[in-house]
Amino acid sequence: MSLKKNILDLRKRREKVQLGGGEKAIEKQMAMGKMTARSRILALLDDESFTEYDLFVEHEARDFGMDKKELHGDGVIIGTGTIYGDPVCIFAQDFTVAGGSLGLMHARKITKIMDHALKMRVPLIGINDSGGARIQEGVNSLAGYGEIFYRNTIASGVIPQISVILGPCAGGAVYSPALTDFVFVVDQISKMFITGPNVIKTVLGEEISMEELGGARVHAEITGNAHFFAESELECFDQIKNLISFIPWSNTKKAKVFPPREPKFKKNIEDIIPSDPKQPYDVRDVVRAIVDDSNFFEIQELFAPNIVIGFGRMNGQTIGFVANQPLYLAGVLDCDSSDKAARFIRYCDAFNIPIITLEDMPGYLPGVDQEHAGVIRHGAKVLYAYSEATVPKITVILRKAYGGGYIAMNSRHLGADFMFAWPTAEIAVMGPEGAANIIFKKEIEEAADPDAMRAEKVKEYIERFANPYVAAAKGYVDSVIEPSETRQMLLHAIEVSSNKIDARPEKKHGIPPF
């Protein structure tokens, strides 16, 4: 009999604590259009799979009357569960408990689940919804943040780390998501900034709304801090599940292999690209024409759209795609697109995902703003990331491959394993007009009709150099292929490189141009 009493007592305790900040606070949370921490976890994970740890943890604060307050679970829920049957570790900050503020025990719960994720080599998902540091706990909450950042860094490149911003995430709190691999934001719900609108108004007198300063769209489009933008929390969870299906559990594993499927994109691949190198097209159509089921999972769709990154499958295996996008800014490399591509390449390399690069770019974006923004050091990141990567690296040159861009976009010279080019490829030191103006400067100047002479010389240059055969003659390009052969050639290349070993000198770590 006494056993039953104990069990009933446990149930009662659980029920009380599982309510977090209580019914009123939950109502408030819902009124803001937000789900509760617990319902978020349950919506994201497989049914019945969530197992909670540290439900009965209480806070440690003793000052400012805090000793009289109860904070259930100390404002964060942690545990393990599965997504499509794959295990994950998860934490979700509970805004209904003291605004999800981070105190010592709150942080200790998060670091506990992080340690667990790292030891078990499974992905970590963090749902952020917090007013920030719990001021009453002073330096203890700062210590908590620091210990989270440290673990984010140590786990980086070992297990996938995913951050979901579903509420405020301000001040020091933003740095944990920033250290993780993928950041998800939801329109009107996510708010991220170092100093909020109030501080900015007090110090500077500048007025700006939270949404304009650090809303979801800002981070998805302008800053590039976010990788996925959703209209609703449920859409966001679908994106996370989709991502999880593409990536491995840890850096010693490969991503799950799915049954191979033919692309369902019906348009003829030759008809996607206009022959005039000055005309744009959507390079994502080329990716869709190549990948299994035409299923391309794009990352950072809104940020620096002049380069496209994302995952697709070839023969059921996850592949990372990097493609210049002529539809935006002519597909140039600039500071933002270099950052975007370089980080993704390093992600793929860390998690054993082969990289396919589709190249069609006229060069780097000219301009004082780019030069002064450090396009040299940002652009260098792409060179570094490609050179450093030891996963299979395959390039297809679709059209333009000019100058520094040709080198940067996974050229043979940076260690590409396979270099394919379409017959439309133009591999040259620069565009024909520019090259002709320099090489034939004298002839053009001295001609009776300089314009006619220039046109003639441009034509001559195009015929002789603006093609893939000069590079093919040197072995810089392995094969010039018909566009319709692309998928077969890529499938073959991936198969051949499945046991690739690329040894590098031992070192503590490189010094990438961060």
Binding site: E221, Q279, P280, A330, D336, G431, E433
Partner: protein
């Protein structure tokens, strides 16, 4: 293709113009303006605490023109070279943004 629907513009890269779309961020770039060494601008947002020099004063390189408080620091704004204060465009207690024109010297 679907060029008619898209708002394509001519985008010059080196000696060629490409048809393409622009991004919001590209639109909101600020054009470059060469700095005028006679204009002393704030390099950080803050508050003017004290004016140390008057219009017409002849100062040596390194002399303090004014004190600007920013991020809890009292920053000394100094003469970049020997010269004269031509115009003062801020007053004590004024809160200014970064890049605000404070003083013109000659």
């Amino acid at each position: 293709m679907k060029n008619k629907k898209l708002n394509l513009v001519d985008f010059p890269i080196l000696s060629r113009k490409y048809k393409t779309l622009l991004t919001t961020k590209h639109h909101s770039r600020k054009p470059y303006v060469a700095p005028n060494l006679n204009e002393i601008k704030s390099y950080i947002p803050g508050t003017i605490i004290k004016m140390k020099a008057k219009v017409g004063a002849k100062l040596k390189e390194g002399d303090i023109i004014l004190i600007q408080e920013a991020m809890k620091m009292m920053n000394q704004i100094k003469m970049p070279f020997d010269g004269k204060i031509k115009e003062i465009l801020v007053s004590e207690g004024e809160r200014i943004l970064k890049g605000h024109l404070m003083v013109i010297i000659e």
